[in-house]
Symmetry: C2
Amino acid sequence: MEIKLAPIGTVHSPYKSIEEIKQVPKENIVGEIELFPEFEEGLKDIEGFSYLWILWIFHGSKNYSLQVKPRIEKACEERKLRGVFATRSPNRPNPIALTLVELLGRKGNKLRVKGIDAIDNTPVIDLKPYVKSDLKEKAKFGWAQETEGNNLLI
Amino acid sequence: MEIKLAPIGTVHSPYKSIEEIKQVPKENIVGEIELFPEFEEGLKDIEGFSYLWILWIFHGSKNYSLQVKPRIEKACEERKLRGVFATRSPNRPNPIALTLVELLGRKGNKLRVKGIDAIDNTPVIDLKPYVKSDLKEKAKFGWAQETEGNNLLI
């Protein structure tokens, strides 16, 4: 079985390379999600949500390992191999990224967002609102419990 | 541009149809995510996380509208048309679902999970851990602010 997807829009961001994403934390990075005009109608009512999930394609991802050493583990400790599904590593069997961004505003088919960690011109495949049931106050975060970094490239 | 994906595993759930999902809330539904054996190694360390994101394919989704009337809006009020990207409707340009489940346990390549709202035999394309930065306590939920339902099919 094979699934075919087509982009619905594009990320505009100040990041020009994966290296830049690794060096500059995403938290205050402001960028834009530009939907192709034919999808603009699907954005109705989105302004009321303060956060959005952006699903996008890691188009730079060429291969993957089933175990990786997340770089957000403290450099002073020995980094351990973690299962890729217990990380948000971009290199995974299906290279789909999930980024939670703050919605700052909308003009037509363009959304101004904060906290985007995708490279400029990255293809977007879906937008979903952050809803009440996404908020799990009692969650435990396994090996990432003690990390403060929240860059996607963990 | 076209993106090709391949499933990494399968959902086992008590839901046999979309109609059943609409009738029986997912909150206490226990099911299983079975990864294909070749991906089991990628699950290392996943037990430490209490919640997981499951990305799966709405393989029953045949077409979509850019505006939809979410059924979780109170039946006593007139349901309004909302932009599909401001909902978690299963019928969307790229039929990828995002479900947050509670991880109850793991046995090899099988994860026991609570809160799954996919039909039995649904293809899974990715698993990601729920990390600290996914928790946005001050979020506003737009038109869904007042709804209590957290079924994916909003």
